[in-house]
């Protein structure tokens, strides 16, 4: 059966994930070493120790995401995070930065290393380099590949692959995107926050909901309609249409979430080892519902049964879902 890797932003969410059937839970420390550095979220060292004990007692694994890029001169914060994750019994750490990966491989040779999606390793050459140079055991593939491309990559590498199947959809070269930095000065890569809440403002203006990120109006929706979070790459923009007029639309991506439930059998056939659910910033209610649904789906896939569909639409951003690049159709 494919491994189900589930998000935990808080100890309560970790317990909810394990109880709902997660094979593995991933989480991060409450600082800028992980790419979900949101207010009120993440784990202290003590909480991680308790979480690891809770998961291990129930046969589940815990992965610690330390997947931002250390600032020059401040590496000690990231080195300490790797050391503490190892000491506290994490089953693996999820890393993106080459220097940090080199440090972890050298200082903690017994620690299992996973390559974060933030490393944007999207071809066999890149993945094999990480495997050969640092002993990376698993790569989390960027959300820009089709199932066929994943199949082709798996034929040319020896490490496990993990792919996202549900949740927030990043359509950029992850770890390289500067849109959030451009709008707010803060990014997921360096600060652990894409479109940080500190720069988000909602207001009701003339019968509409408006969502702004920094100085930019990202969404304007009529009252009563779904209100997406103002992520720059999923914003609605007005631009010249090339004919002297203007056009308004979602230039990069619609405000939708990934739901690749129906592609699970194809991903299994493609040689994928683990399925990842995005959403460490979401509640324990979300985690419990999504994990339970996907545990049923991977068990069904394992038995060759059809995939359930549409169970989780209400939980998705914009209340709409897509299969993303896995089965991309061009507009």
């Amino acid at each position: 059966m494919m491994e189900l890797v589930c998000p935990a932003g808080t100890p309560a969410a970790l317990r909810a994930a394990v109880d709902a059937g997660a094979h593995t839970v991933y989480c991060g420390f409450a600082d800028e070493t992980n790419a979900r550095n949101f207010p009120g979220l993440n784990f202290s060292r003590e909480e991680l120790a308790e979480g690891v004990a809770y998961a291990h007692a129930r046969g589940a694994k815990v992965l610690v995401a330390i997947n931002t890029f250390p600032r020059a001169g401040d590496q000690v914060l990231w080195h300490r995070a790797v050391r503490d994750a190892a000491d506290l019994g994490a089953d693996a750490v999820i890393l993106a930065d080459l220097g940090l990966i080199a440090h972890a491989a050298e200082a903690h040779p017994g620690l299992r290393l996973h390559l974060s999606v933030q490393a944007a390793a999207a071809n066999p050459d890149a993945i094999n380099f990480y495997a050969e140079a640092f002993g990376i055991r698993r790569v989390v593939l960027p959300r820009v590949l089709s199932v066929e491309e994943i199949t082709a990559i798996n034929r040319e590498i020896d490490v496990e692959t993990e792919v996202f199947v549900f949740g927030g959809l990043c359509v950029m070269a992850e770890g390289r995107c500067s849109l959030s930095s451009y709008a707010t000065g803060l990014s997921p890569n360096m600060n652990g926050v894409c479109s940080p809440a500190s720069h988000v403002a909602y207001a009701d203006v003339a019968g509409n909901h408006e969502a702004r990120l920094g100085d930019f109006l990202i969404h304007r929706t009529p009252k009563g309609m779904p209100v997406p979070y103002p992520t720059l790459c999923k914003g609605c923009f007005t631009s010249p249409d090339g004919k002297g007029d203007s056009q308004t639309g979602h230039i990069f991506e619609d405000p939708v979430s990934l739901d690749a439930t129906r592609l699970i059998p194809a991903l299994q056939k493609a040689g994928v080892s683990a399925l990842k659910i995005e959403g460490r910033q979401r509640s324990r209610a979300y985690v419990a519902q999504v994990v339970r649904a996907f545990r049923a789906a991977v068990e069904a896939a394992d038995q060759g049964a059809p995939m359930p569909e549409g169970l989780l639409a209400r939980l998705t951003e914009g209340q709409a879902a897509t299969t993303g690049a896995y089965a991309k159709t061009w507009r």
């Binding site: 949101f38 979220l41 809440a197 009252k223 209610a285 209340q319």
Partner: protein
């Protein structure tokens, strides 16, 4: 949007007795202090946002609530008066608030669907949502604990009955393995 139970409209129209709001404020503050003492992680998760003033506008309740976590103060304010000063606001129906607080519904999903609206400092709202979600609160149990015996048993039974009749989520939702 999901059709949710609401409080009877009559409650909204009844003028509050003269001392109702101060008395309610005292009771709510005592309740908040009990929760803060039992769940200190709420304040540590809030971090700097513990100093924020949160306006809770439960649209089908007769009062607005103002919560000040660091001061451990929760006060009731009349709807017809100007809103009390606040740094962040969460607005929505009682059913949505209770469902989020008790882990039956995801806060983001309630927000995406428009059942809950937020205003002011988005970071503060996020910190509060995350801190309360991790606390796994059970308002029925907290009230029962505050009441003592034998009232606690009647309160639990009454709460279960009201939950059944009204559809409101009045207790923490457990994840069954």
């Amino acid at each position: 949007m999901t059709q949710r139970p609401t409080l009877p409209p009559l409650l909204m129209r009844l003028p509050p007795p003269p001392l109702a709001r101060p008395a309610l404020g005292l009771a709510l503050t005592a309740f908040l202090r009990r929760i803060a003492a039992k769940k200190p992680a709420i304040l540590s998760r809030l971090g700097p946002y513990a100093q924020a003033r949160f306006l809770l506008d439960v649209s089908d309740a007769p009062f607005l609530l103002l919560m000040q976590p660091e001061a451990r103060r929760l006060t009731a304010h009349a709807r017809h008066a100007p809103e009390p000063g606040h740094d962040a606001a969460i607005r929505g129906g009682l059913a949505a608030f209770l469902a989020m607080l008790h882990g039956a519904e995801d806060g983001d999903a309630l927000f995406f669907s428009g059942e809950l609206q937020i205003g002011g400092d988005t970071s503060a709202v996020l910190a509060l949502r995350n801190a309360l979600d991790d606390a796994e609160l059970d308002l029925t149990e907290e009230l029962a604990g505050l009441s003592g015996r034998p009232l606690d048993r009647w309160l639990r039974r009454g709460s279960a009955l009201v939950a059944r009749k009204s559809g409101l989520i009045l207790s923490r939702q457990e994840v069954m393995p």
